[in-house]
Symmetry: C2
Subunit: 402 residues, 2 copies
């Protein structure tokens, strides 16, 4: 193991402050150190820590000075044995200025080129720690790629079931990294039902979004990392592309944990804005209607495949966080996000993914209508490298002999 990896992994034994797990809906207590999917009541599970003990024993600046990207937050992650850490060269993702008062957090710099690395690295490490060997999930692309790479690294078997129209590059990278890839004639929730049925037959463990407790812990490192980068404070507003919503839920959990740890010098939490596409906006509809759950969106369609999620199992956790933060849910058109993508590339030199561009378009709309003031600081999450997505053709030809 390389020095930096070893340092982040924490030597052979990691101090661990996990006390228990609990049902995200009822709060019912569940035992740590055992395999869990959804709670007995069928809801996503959250991991709980003894944060007062961590507060007494862990120094925030010593943690932030470590190498190893998101693995540096080991006292706030569930992995117990350093040998179970699965590392592929994680880095802290940079904040890139994309306008006055607005920064893109460029998650495309992570292994496999997307924020999915955070969640899947931790989930795969926990699968290894708990003795699972065969993992499967439905995926629109980036999650499958991250699962495949980390499972290969960990020596576990992985299967990705993908809608027919999943981007070709995602299918190919996922397969090349060792996973079984199946192109299926259905949308992601239909693929999920197929995976679930076979999980119940014992063919594999169901690794779907929020159907195991640990992906959210990996995603929460976006919030921890952002706080440290911001000088142990937080921006005024966060625009987050919302499909399954694990990252938004995870960041909101991270902010609460940071406050309990006393690690924030300024405990003001950001307004959380859940960004969706007009062609698939179940959370926006539910937020506007004042509902706690979001009904399935029919005939979902958008170029931003990562947020083409008609039904999110963690809908109530997303909507709770958005409301508690004083934020909102907002939909943008495909035309607006593609326009924001092109302008950001040409003016700022940063190529966003469509989902990241949706956040920038949402930010711009809010600056225009006053929901975000000129004095507000904002962060938009660019959840993947822009290189994985279609770009306009280049037609200008030059005859060197002319």
């Amino acid at each position: 193991m390389h020095e930096a990896d070893h340092e982040a992994a924490g030597g052979s034994r990691r101090p661990n402050f996990v006390t228990h797990l609990e049902c995200g809906m009822t709060g019912a207590r569940l035992e740590a150190g055992r395999v869990h999917g959804l709670s007995p009541d069928g809801w996503p599970i959250l991991v709980r820590y003894d944060l007062q003990a961590a507060k007494a024993r862990v120094d925030r600046d010593a943690v932030w000075a470590r190498g190893g990207g998101f693995w540096k937050w080991r006292e706030l992650l569930p992995v117990r044995e350093a040998d179970n850490v699965v590392a592929l060269g994680e880095v802290d993702t940079p904040l890139v200025s994309v306008g006055p008062g607005v920064w893109a957090k460029d998650e495309g710099r992570l292994p496999t080129g997307s924020f999915k690395a955070r969640g899947l690295a931790v989930a795969v490490a926990m699968a290894k720690e708990l003795g699972l060997t065969r993992l499967a999930m439905p995926t629109n692309g980036n999650a499958g790629a991250a699962l495949s790479a980390y499972a290969a690294r960990a020596g576990l078997s992985a299967t990705a079931v993908c809608p027919d129209d999943t981007p070709e590059i995602n299918l190919r990278e996922t397969a090349l990294q060792g996973a079984e890839v199946l192109r299926a004639n259905g949308l992601i929730h239909q693929c999920g039902a197929w995976v679930k049925a076979r999980a119940e037959e014992g063919r594999w463990f169901d690794f779907s979004t929020l159907k195991e407790p640990y992906r959210i812990e990996g995603k929460k490192t976006m919030g921890l990392e952002l706080a440290a980068q911001w000088g142990w404070a937080l921006p005024d507003v966060i625009f987050y592309p919302t499909g399954g919503g694990t990252g938004l839920i995870g960041m909101w959990k991270a902010f609460a944990e940071l406050i309990e740890l006393g690690w924030l010098d300024d405990e003001s939490r950001p307004k959380m804005v859940a960004v969706q596409a007009e062609g698939c906006a179940p959370i926006v509809r539910a937020w506007k209607a004042g509902e706690r759950h979001a009904a399935e969106w029919k005939d979902a369609t958008t170029v931003a495949m990562g947020i083409r999620v008609p039904k999110a199992i963690g809908d109530f956790l997303i909507l709770d966080a958005v409301r508690e933060s004083g934020g909102w849910a907002q939909a943008v058109s495909d035309a607006a996000l593609l326009d924001a993508r092109a302008r950001c590339a040409a003016e700022s030199g940063l190529l966003l993914c469509p989902e990241g561009a949706a956040c920038l378009a949402a930010y711009e709309a809010c600056r225009a209508d006053g929901r975000v003031a000129a004095s507000d600081s904002a962060v938009v999450f660019n959840c993947a490298t822009g290189l994985k997505y279609p770009m306009p053709e280049v037609t200008t030809r030059l005859d060197l002999n002319s």
Copy 2:
């Protein structure tokens, strides 16, 4: 400017130790702070620093503790004014274990997804500092993308002249980031001649590899960063994909500077291995023949476009460094590099670019024939994200209704 960018930029004024420039062939002295292309004798130009003054005033560990990726090495870079620094979220690229004793330095994590960011960021910053406004270059892909992004960020105009068969993704990202992109009916050296002719007419400044003095300074940060990551020492062997060779030359320059600074605890320098493709191996041919210059390779062909460079203007600097290091030049077949790429992805979870895979294939061949011992530590440079390159199709279909 974000805090981390500002810190790396060094406030408004950067301590700068540049004394002069010099011809890379004759050593003839040239004045700093003025626009230079090639030396008056037609050779690449190198930047020289007062390293004894830097040694007295700069602390290596304080430098390494900074944020800002390669911009952190500001005392060893030529940019004088912090306002001229052009930043897009640079990170230190990770070392990822890809076998016992061998690590891939994953340059795909940089802005625009390749090591070209290092050289072009510094070259564009210097163009801005020296008052150049219109830049042009021939490119097989990644250099054009980096030029485009950093020039957009700096507010400069950029033109990329690309061989017809440049990968579609490179053409498109370069154009989307604001550069003029011209698809031309010729190879890279023919595109270069066309750019040069128009530079002489005053249409733009010729930004070709090694035809301005600063790209090599950016590339040299690969060597500085590697030394710091390695605990102020260096691995036994470095495998480097060699097209124009700027990175190999730059790293060799970095190692000499680190020794003069007294920053290496172990001053043993690595054997430098210049890796090329069998279908385009001018440096390998010259190395074997004991020549100091490498004649143009006819009918160059390889899937590794980044090293499809038939004629390198810095050939003598590459060959000098390889020989001085006790290293060698080595060619691998396209079949071998594609095989190494697939195995590394499936076994280690890391998707290499073809040029990085060529280095891994070369390393494996050297372990097999004993040129590299089991006890040797080796680093292979993965010069770009593997996502930009073709991957095998996925054909496995699943009928959810069956």
